[in-house]
């Protein structure tokens, strides 16, 4: 048992034009700024600018903090292709544009990061990491909605460093990586019974193209599909299917599945159990039970949507 993470969040209005959000997380590896950014809320032309360290707008799971996840862990595809727990999280700028119209919510986001995350890394300042996302959302009824998005990320990596650096003083080659993702979420929450019932169905499909030394490439695909159903005021049940190739070797594909149950004593704490089955490409299988206890103190934060 371990204290995986303690997160402190500070959110405040800076002035009439900006809002600041800081999330400090303390874990076994020490204290770090998980996210810390300023949002300029009053730009013209339907623009919204964020500057600072943040989780990139790549798909859905990458934007979620650990305690916001519906499961104890992150999907296999996140672990294999998108940096795992830390994910695509870096210092940079994010500019998003809202396409004004009365019919559907469409938001286009462009981001640039320094290239210092668990997904992209480079010692060269000119080698940056770029992320783009297009998101469309529409209410189907007052109780149900559909949310779809596509994301793209491009940047340098230093994977394969060990294999390609035979001696001191030889600079490792910078190898590009591209990620492309599609995500879709369906939500159902009847307004009259919003306290007791909800259903979320979500899938993310991610393609990774990793440059390798000697002009080789690994084209890896991974995905997950997750369903979560609230069947009583304090109880949620869900299941997830996982499948993902490895970043550096697209011939190795891991698969798995999870069942999870969450109990919310109050809206400020939750107890979660998860059974996880994983079949690794090497032929090893894993059967694990994971437990998690989450709680929040202090001011009531905004719900995640």
């Amino acid at each position: 048992m371990q204290l995986t993470e303690a997160e402190a969040s500070f959110q405040a209005i800076v002035d009439p034009y900006a809002k600041a959000d800081f999330f400090l997380s303390a874990g076994p590896d020490g204290v770090e700024v998980e996210e810390g950014y300023i949002t300029f809320t009053s730009l013209p032309k339907n623009l919204l600018l964020k500057v600072g360290k943040m989780r990139a707008q790549f798909g859905k799971v990458n934007t979620l903090h650990t305690h916001q996840m519906p499961t104890v862990d992150r999907p296999l595809v996140t672990e294999n292709l998108v940096g795992g727990e830390e994910g695509l999280s870096d210092a940079g700028m994010s500019l998003s544009y809202l396409l004004h119209n009365p019919v559907i919510f469409v938001e286009a986001t462009g981001e640039v990061y320094t290239g210092d995350s668990d997904v992209f890394q480079s010692n060269e300042r000119s080698k940056l990491n770029y992320v783009g996302r297009l998101r469309a959302y529409r209410d189907i009824t007052e109780s149900s909605n559909i949310d779809v998005g596509t994301s793209f990320a491009f940047g340098p990596t230093d994977v394969g460093l060990d294999e390609t650096t035979p001696g001191e003083g030889i600079e490792a080659p910078v190898l590009d990586k591209r990620l492309f993702g599609i995500d879709a979420t369906f939500r159902y929450r009847p307004l009259r019974r919003a306290i007791y019932q909800r259903l979320n169905l979500r899938t993310e499909l991610i393609w990774s193209r990793q440059e390798l030394p000697a002009d080789l490439h690994a084209n890896s695909f991974g995905m997950y599909a997750l369903g979560e159903y609230q069947f009583a005021r304090r109880w949620y049940f869900g299941a997830r299917y996982d499948r993902s190739a490895r970043t550096l070797d697209d011939t190795l594909t891991d698969t798995g599945g999870s069942l999870f149950l969450t109990f919310w004593p109050t809206e400020f704490s939750q107890i979660r159990g998860q059974y996880r089955y994983t079949s690794y490409a090497e032929g090893i299988t894993g059967n694990e039970f994971l437990f998690q206890f989450n709680f929040s103190i202090g001011a009531h934060g905004a719900h995640i949507f």
Binding site: Q11, I13, P16, Y17, K19, T39, T41, S42, L43, N46, L47, L48, L98, L99, H100, N101, P102, V103, I104, F105, V106, E107, L134, R135, A136, Y137, R138, D139, E142, N145, D147, V148, T150, F152, R178, F180, I182, R187, R189, L191, R192, R193, A194, I195, Y196, W207, R209, R233, R234, T266, E267, F268, I297, A299, H300, G301, A302, H303, F305
Partner: protein, 314 residues
Amino acid sequence: MKPMKKLFIPFFAIALAMSYAPPGRTATAALRVVATTEDLGSLANEVGGDRVTVVSLAKGYQDPHQVDPKPSFILEISRADLLIAVGRELEIGWLPALQASSRNAKIQVGGPGFLDASQNVRILEIPTGQITRAMGDVHPQGNPHYWLDPANGRRIAQAIRDRLTQLAPADKAYFDQRYADFDKRLAAAEQRWDATMAPYKGAQIVTYHRSWPNFMERFGLQVMGYVEPKPGIPAPPAHIIDLIGEMKRSGARLIIVEPYWSLKTPQSIASQTGGQVLVLAPSVGGVKEATDYIKLFDYDVSQLASALKQTSGK
């Protein structure tokens, strides 16, 4: 890269096509008002008349604490000239996220198009001393269900009149006249409601959540207990047993429930106390009869008086 490009281009094209909207719908001089609840929306309609278009975000039959910050709401407030909020942290779980994403400078906190309707009203249950979560989801700035006192409804309408006048000074006389008309109709309705409720002054009742202090104070009723032990905390069996005992001792037989709670626990309590469960509308739109602010009280007062008549025999 080819499979990625193949997928990306049609997806982008579909999303752009979906974003197309026929022109012409936005060409109107009316102020766009977005209210977080149907109560505030109704009051904005009363004062603004045909000089405003009003959209309400939360429905009257949903728990206003439990609203999802849906992107469709961002679309609504991105074009708003005026955003009216209940305040007192009722919307703290969802409105700040919507405002931050709205790209609308006018409706940010402190902006000319943001109105916190709670600024000049009478607020009850403002906690004193240290507030902790051991007290449940207590609102540190007082009970936010203040619109359920018609005197507060009048004060909210005044604040809306003043803000609409600031935003559209040319329509001042119109807003003044609309407010005066509403004030007159509300005063007449209050006399009617007072007369209906007069026989039941001092009656003891139980409510599910602390949604009704302003309403009960206005009509002289006593809330002797709550189905929830503390705000937002589900009731453990020990609390229900205590509540049943207290109801039997005090003679309270009526349990008021908002439309978004399950009736299972209240009905179980009622069956053991010989009481009655009554679903009242905490907001405009909470039941189909409560189509505006005055009709909300018409409905609640008549339902409550009729239930009290049955349970008290008066």
